[in-house]
């Protein structure tokens, strides 16, 4: 039997090419994911060990920081050469009005324990010196030699302790893995001063130890731990391992996430494989029957198919592994050229897991996919060898299949629908129970849909074929008929694409819905796209200067500016009094011009009180500024927190300040661009004029923030799904080329009776497009429905749910499907047109 399998492989190897490619892509994905996570782990390990420089041991307090005595005992221990406490602290760095937070560390007592590396200049030598990370220095506009001030954080009413220091060196920017990497280095004594000024003891949590003799690392560790009570002693290796393991929890989640997509690719690949083997078995029916005639048992016939599948699976997975290794290694070659300070390893580490899993998964999937065709092979009767082989009768779909499909769709769909409506109807803050139920229902129902695909995919293909039939001439007619000739195969091929297109659509529907829903939330919370606010100081809202006002007005894209005026006063109602409250107004006409619309400002005689004051609608609130007091009625529908109409505001007198500006954009201006130019303008103005930087806020700002997050996540997920989509396209090409082989005589007949080469090519292109578009379109419809259900489950609780249709993405999916169908037909039609018309006369 082995000889038979090998000869079949030699003869029909080409027919297995597509299946091989599919499985190789899938296992390459698995390999790349595993190798990638290994790289992340190694990199993290390197980064962690680097932060301990040349230390041999790390001492830490068992409970809380290390005491003076403990440190002294460590230093006195005979094995210890040097010990240096690790002192870390956060502070503020400030230069010419620009401030930044800095995570700082003190210099180590011995240069061998120092992990900080400078790119230029040197580490601080005196208490009046500091070294900063390159990025931090750049943000503050600092160069080596410049003076800056550093300050402890202080509470509102307290002037913080402040030191003036000179920048002596720039540190390598910590990037990628932020394991306590400091962005500022000061001397040990300055750090102590700063900590003491806060009233905190300058006690370190950890100390690094250099041993006299590092040959007996473990022994010295144990001796030290026993000699000094209340301390933990670890080797650097142990500590790095521990840190990385804690961090790995996150990488494992990430790896699992990526592997899920690798799994989807393998499922899609299995459809391609199953198709291939079904065709191979059908084509070999006569040979198989002959084998049965001469005495092969059913078991042997099945074994031959499965053996062939294992060989194909093994070879293809090995190729896939090689591709994965190559990809991962290329990444390692590319990353260092990006000049990130991530200590990536230079060569990938081939762990047993990274070798075994891709090959095992690829081979297993291939063999599993070949099980059903192998079963079909055993059903070939020995008698079939004696009969001329006619077209394989296409087996009708079984009742079991129908029942399973309906069960899956009805039960799963029911659970999903119930969970969705429950999430909509009830008002729970944590929808995770509904989400879980929804995921379960979704998985069950989509399984049902895929099982039952054979009931609706051919119908859809036939429907689409009507178009080809109507407008495609003879090639269109033949293609339309051919596309549904083998409903099972068409269904399987289209399903592969359905899965890919469905998931892409689901994700982009989710993203679009999240975007629209967040937009609607923002519309409720922000009356304008962009507002410029003066930062609050101890007395309340700050004041925007005329220079700032002028700068904002002259910023490109800004059409109109509506100033918001503020007074500080006292509000009282129903026995409650709020002193030092900010009272606001804006010119009604100007406000309506810049607002997005639907803005209700308080009318004269009314006031909008904030929710936290808990004032019933219509209750009277009295406002007092200086000596004048007015009484107003609370309007719960109006916008703002202590906002009133300008006429009432004027009655209060006092000296109002412009605390913020509402900005109306020129038509066609891009809000995100305006926001960034406003930020630049205001930052420059603040450093040149010495006023605090005004903040730019509003819906546009928020939108830009989350839009980037959503778009990035969507791009990543679609990129990961791309592999599955590519495999599905390979599947379409596979089905077409197998059909071309099967229909060799038919193609030749058509050529003999007058079908041109180009028409034959067109015929296959149409068939490819029908299969691809049916798969993609059904996938898009299902993806839309599941995407809506999913977003409802996730977003219903946060309010503002607005279901969206990602029209642009849907159009892209259809165009891609169209192109994929055409592309998939290129190679098969080359084979087909090479068939000479004479082949029609051949008798087989």
């Amino acid at each position: 039997m082995r000889g038979f399998v090998l000869s079949q492989l030699r003869r029909g190897g080409g027919r297995l090419l597509a299946a091989g490619i599919a499985i190789a892509l899938g296992s390459a994905f698995v390999a790349a994911a595993l190798l990638g996570s290994q790289i992340v782990r190694t990199t993290a390990y390197n980064a962690v060990s680097a932060s301990y420089a040349n230390a041999d041991l790390v001492v830490s307090g068992e409970e809380g920081p290390l005491s003076e005595e403990q440190l002294a005992s460590v230093a006195d221990a005979p094995e210890v050469e040097v010990v240096s406490p690790v002192v870390q602290l956060a502070f503020e760095v400030e230069h010419q009005g620009r401030a930044d937070y800095a995570w700082g560390a003190a210099r180590m007592s011995d240069p061998r324990l120092e992990s900080a590396v400078t790119t230029s200049g040197s580490l601080p030598a005196s208490d009046a010196e500091i070294a900063l990370a390159g990025d931090t220095a750049k943000r503050l506009g600092l160069q080596v030699g410049d003076e800056l001030s550093i300050a402890n954080f202080a509470s509102f009413d307290e002037e913080p302790a402040r030191w003036t220091v000179t920048l002596t060196g720039l540190l390598v920017d910590p990037a990628g893995f932020n394991f306590d990497s400091p962005v500022a280095i000061v001397t040990d004594s300055l750090a102590t001063q700063m900590l003491e000024a806060r009233g905190e003891p300058a006690l370190p949590w950890r100390a690094l130890v250099l041993l006299e003799d590092d040959s007996g690392l473990e022994a010295s560790r144990d001796t030290l731990a026993e000699a000094i009570p209340g301390v933990d002693v670890q080797t650097v290796e142990e500590l790095a391992h521990e840190t990385v393991t804690a961090f790995s929890g996150q990488t494992d989640v990430l790896t699992g996430f990526v592997l899920t997509f690798a799994g989807i690719s393998l499922v899609v690949a299995s459809i391609v494989i199953a198709n291939t083997f079904q065709v191979l078995v059908a084509q070999r029916a006569q040979t198989l029957a002959l084998l049965r005639c001469v005495g092969a048992t059913r078991r042997q016939v099945r074994g031959s198919v499965l053996l062939e599948a294992s060989i194909v699976g093994l070879v293809a997975s090995a190729v896939g592994l090689a591709i994965g290794v190559l990809l991962a290694q290329s990444a390692l070659w590319i990353v260092p050229t990006l000049e990130l300070a991530v200590p990536v390893p230079s060569v990938i580490e081939l762990t047993p897991a990274a070798v075994i899993w891709p090959i095992a998964a690829g081979t297993l999937v291939t063999v599993l996919a070949a099980l059903a065709p192998a079963r079909v092979a055993t059903r070939v009767a020995p008698l079939a060898a004696l009969r001329p082989l006619e077209l394989q009768p296409v087996r009708g779909s079984s009742k079991v299949r129908l029942v399973l499909a309906l069960l899956g769709v009805v039960v799963g769909g029911g659970i999903l629908a119930a969970a969705t409506f429950a999430a909509l109807a009830t008002d729970v803050s944590d929808p995770s129970l509904f989400v879980l139920a929804g995921i379960f229902g979704g998985a069950v129902s989509i399984t049902g849909v895929l099982i039952g695909a054979v009931y609706f995919v051919p119908g859809a293909a036939r429907w689409l074929g009507l178009l080809a039939h109507r407008f495609g001439g003879v090639p269109g007619k033949v293609a339309a008929a051919n596309s549904v000739r083998n409903p099972r195969r068409t269904t399987a091929t289209a399903s592969a694409l359905l899965i890919g297109a469905g998931l892409v659509t689901m994700m982009s529907t989710g993203a679009a819905t999240a975007r629209d829903s967040l937009d609607s939330l923002l519309d409720e919370n922000f009356p304008v796209d962009i507002a410029v606010n003066a930062p609050w100081d101890m007395n309340g809202p700050g004041e925007l200067t005329d220079a700032q006002l002028a700068a904002v007005e002259s910023t490109e894209g800004v059409a109109r500016v509506a100033p918001v005026l503020t007074l500080m006063g006292t509000a009282s109602t129903g026995g409650d009094t709020w002193s030092d409250s900010a009272i606001y107004t804006i010119d009604e006409e100007a406000a309506q011009e810049v607002a997005r619309g639907g803005l209700t400002l308080p009318s004269p005689g009314t006031i909008a009180a904030p929710q936290w004051m808990d004032v019933p609608d219509g209750q009277t609130i009295s406002l007092t500024v200086g000596s004048s007091t007015i009484e107003l009625e609370h309007d719960a529908e109006a916008f703002g927190q202590l906002w009133l109409a300008s006429q009432d505001f004027e009655r209060l007198g006092g000296s109002p300040v412009t605390s913020s500006l509402w900005i109306g954009l020129e038509p066609g201006a891009n809000p995100e661009d305006v926001v960034s130019s406003l930020r630049d303008t205001l930052t420059d103005l603040s450093s040149s004029a010495g006023v605090p930087i005004a903040q730019v806020e509003g819906a546009a700002v928020e939108r830009a923030g989350y839009q980037e997050v959503i778009d990035t996540m969507l791009a990543i997920v679609i990129g990961l799904l791309g592999v599955a989509v590519i495999i599905a396209i390979v599947g379409v090409a596979n089905t077409l080329s197998l059909s071309v082989i099967e229909r060799r005589r038919e193609s030749a007949t058509l050529r003999a009776i007058g079908l041109k080469r180009g028409q034959l090519r067109g015929m296959l292109a149409i068939e490819g497009v029908i299969i691809a578009v049916v798969g993609a379109a059904l996938g898009a419809v299902l993806g839309l429905v599941y995407g809506w259900a999913g977003s409802t489950l996730l977003l219903a609780s946060s309010g503002g749910l607005r279901l969206a249709v990602p029209w642009r993405d849907l159009a892209i999916i259809l165009v891609v499907a169209l192109a994929a169908g055409l592309l998939a037909s290129v190679l098969p039609s080359r084979t087909a047109t090479r068939t000479p018309p004479v082949a029609a006369l051949a008798v087989d």
């Binding site: 051919n482 000739r485 007949t749 007058g754 079908l755 041109k756 000479p836 018309p837």
Partner: protein
């Protein structure tokens, strides 16, 4: 009946198909096989001609070249006034579409189309209108009226071959090539198909060239062209099964091509 040199047709109307110096060589050098070693032959319009010869004689190759399905190594083929040997693939395809019909041994109907769709396929390819009268005449002559909505899978071999004949004739081609049309049929259906082919020549005025190795089938033709070792070995006018057999026997016993009359 006589066995004549095929290249001297005598005073008859212009031939439908004409071959001159036709050679076909497969392979190269020592491995070269001369499937056709220089054939001159004419086929009369409005006649039913059978090409006969033993296996490997080159009869199938000759038909492929005459029908423009394959290209000759040297020599010319004319269909009416058109020289096939100078045409490119698209031109040949158009020529086959409009001027030639085919009947295959394995019927070669498209399984997903009904009998009627199969019959009309050549017209659709050409984008030509269906001549209903001609269609009805064909369908009635071939007794297919009841079967038009059936797919090939639901038809017997004889019925399928009749559909194939209708398909070959629907575009009124100048010549129909039939390649062992009875090879896959039982003798009764075979006889039926052959009489239809003969009727289409006698009653419908078509030209049919049939390749066969069956003397009984060849006897339905007006004339038999004998071929052996890639050369024309002779012709038999108004053949009977006996005269064809005798001709074939003569081919086997004589080393050189049969050139003189054989008693019939």
């Amino acid at each position: 009946m006589t066995l004549n040199d095929a290249s001297s047709p005598g005073a008859t109307p212009a031939p439908a198909v004409r071959a001159r110096g036709l050679k076909k060589v497969y392979g190269e050098g020592a491995a070269a096989v001369h499937a056709l070693a220089g054939v001159d032959v004419d086929f009369q319009a409005g006649a039913f001609t059978a090409i006969m010869g033993p296996s490997g004689s080159g009869k199938s190759t000759l038909m492929h070249l005459l029908a423009g399905l394959d290209s000759a190594t040297s020599g010319t083929v004319h269909l009416g006034e058109t020289a096939l040997t100078s045409l490119g693939d698209d031109a040949l395809t158009l020529l086959r579409r409009e001027r030639i019909g085919f009947v295959f041994q394995s019927f070669n109907l498209l399984p997903m189309f009904t009998a009627e769709q199969n019959i009309l396929l050549p017209l659709e390819l050409a984008g030509a209108k269906v001549d209903r009268e001609w269609f009805d005449q064909l369908v009635d002559t071939l007794a297919l009226r009841e079967r038009l909505s059936h797919r090939p899978g639901e038809l017997s071999g004889g019925q399928q071959q009749r559909v194939a004949i209708a398909r070959a004739l629907i575009a009124r081609p100048e010549v129909v090539f039939a390649d062992e049309p009875t090879g896959n049929l039982d003798s009764r259906s075979g006889a039926e198909v052959l009489s239809f082919l003969r009727r289409s020549v006698r009653e419908l005025g078509r030209t049919v060239i049939m390749v066969t190795h069956d003397p009984t089938a060849a006897a339905y033709a007006d004339r038999v062209v004998l071929i052996a070792d890639g050369r024309i070995a002779g012709t038999i006018e108004d053949p009977t099964p006996e005269s064809v057999l005798a001709g074939l026997d003569a081919l086997r016993t004589l080393e050189s091509p049969v050139t003189q009359a054989v008693a019939g």
